[in-house]
Assembly symmetry: C2
Homo-oligomer: 312 residues x 2
């Protein structure tokens, strides 16, 4: 990577608002990573999920957001846990949570009812999914295989990702980054942001947004140079999609780029690796395309670990 890219990333972090509870987050991540040592035992994956917000004002009333339900990240978290990985789940507040994907909106209000005795109970229609969700989520937390770090803004997202990647360096090739979050390409730099709410005078509003520095480059080459890195491309236009996915793999040196087309992304994806394009589809017996996708990526990481020498 060139010096300009590193500089613009440095400038981004230097001008970003301070991350709340930074020390607490660092300590939790370090402890979680330490429990994966010595390497060769449990592998760890860092999954990012959901959209990022870009504030347009410092005292934030308006912001730009990227649509992402977080379904892919949540489903993949379940698959990686099942495969024995320890998972750091960096997700947008309010986006999908693992084990909760079959629940309706507002599960507390929609799935529970008064039991007629001053208490409450799940209604019969939802009892099984509600019980499974709580039981499986708590079991993952309790066994120490799941660390959940929520964010809202682009600034928080990138700070947390940097903390996790720097701290996971010691896991070398046994760490995977699975970057499913929908990260904004544009932002308003904190220093040039207006303090107060933008006024709606007469006529249209013009806005100019700066490009977010290409952090994938830093993650891959500086923060966690040995980790197995998977990024995602989502496009609504199939013609553009594969070109951009190939370009992203080459430009950033990703080990795999998962190409999603908005309309078909729940049935199939195409994974771009140095070996070419691989179509991954769910079969009739699989609930989610994330099952074959995660299996494919785990196998790729295994080859990557073996090619790089034995660490155990």
């Amino acid at each position: 990577m060139d010096a300009t890219e590193a500089q613009s990333a440095e400038a981004f972090f230097a001008s970003a608002p301070p991350l709340k509870d930074r020390e607490v987050i660092v300590a939790r991540v370090e402890e979680f990573v330490r429990r994966r040592l010595p390497i060769g035992g449990t592998r760890m994956v860092c999954i990012t999920s959901g959209g990022t917000t870009v504030p347009l004002e410092r005292k934030c009333v308006r912001f730009i957001d990227n649509f992402s339900s977080g379904h892919r990240g949540a489903a993949s978290t379940e698959c990686f846990l099942k495969a024995g990985y320890a998972v750091i789940f960096i997700n947008r507040r309010g986006s999908a949570q693992p084990f909760c994907r079959s629940l309706p909106e507002d599960p507390l209000l929609t799935c529970f009812e008064p039991d007629g005795n001053k208490g409450i109970q799940p209604d019969p229609k939802h009892a099984v999914v509600v019980q499974e969700a709580v039981t499986e989520y708590h079991s993952a937390l309790k066994t120490g295989y799941l660390l959940h770090l929520p964010y809202t803004t682009l600034f928080e997202y990138l700070e947390i990702l940097r903390i996790v990647s720097l701290s996971s360096q010691q896991l070398q090739r046994h760490c995977m980054f699975y970057l499913a979050a929908a990260v904004s390409d544009f932002y308003v730099p904190w220093n040039s942001m207006v303090e107060h709410k933008i006024q709606s005078g007469v006529g249209p509003m013009a806005m100019e947004l700066a490009q977010v520095p290409k952090m994938l480059m830093l993650l891959r080459h500086v923060w966690a140079p040995e980790a197995f890195c998977v990024s995602f491309k989502l496009e609504t236009d199939t013609n553009i999609l594969m070109k951009k996915a190939e370009a992203a793999r080459e430009r950033y040196g990703m080990h795999a780029v998962v190409a999603n087309e908005l309309e078909t992304r729940k049935q199939k994806v195409i994974v771009v690796t140095s070996e070419g394009q691989k179509l991954v589809e769910k079969d009739a017996f699989q609930a989610d395309v994330e099952i074959p996708l995660v299996n494919f990526l785990i196998a790729q990481q295994t080859s990557y670990i073996e090619a790089g020498g034995v660490y155990v």
Copy 2:
């Protein structure tokens, strides 16, 4: 209101994407309003709550959002229900719900635990608030005093508001509009919106947004000309706030404008009416400023009903 405003509002609705389940929503609203007849019995309030999204692309990946937790609308819904009003609660998906304001994020995962017998139970720390939330919400639904209509986009919000206001005309002065939602002032007209995801090429992105037609004017003078109308102004800059609140009252003919300053809005608000400015503050025994605010507005509506003649 002048002809240009009516025309630009017409153009907005004519070009908006069709509202999903429109007929179902119309039928539910009409039935809910009918149960308030004959007028002079139960009053009805339509409360709007939460931010609106403005899509930047038709196959929506990016959008502009207005920050609003929905706390004020949810708290006010509780107060109006307690005061005997029937409430249509038009709220942004994912924003605060009545009776749930003291719950933590993700209440299902954070407030419940496995009971060791394949079932789940609220953990002791959260049991009381969780039970109260479910019990009170279901009681409001069951007695037919609460109708919940969720939205996400600006287009959905305005369509639903128009449906409710047209349908509630027959309640005359016994209907109140309490417009606490944070509605975007700017949008990208559906006809001029790009079909596919905006590409992040090189360099900054420029955007131009059109002004949203002033729908308060239509609501007040065309859709529901007899209803008691309350709008809200939120600003981060106190100097601008009172001027804008006064101007909104005069321009749109609101019966009351509630002026909020971002930092102090949970302790106090200033209500602007034709009689002047009234400071409304919560006292030491009140959990929320919405308690004295709703009481004050109910009294104002009572005067308004009495001044307009007896309908019963």
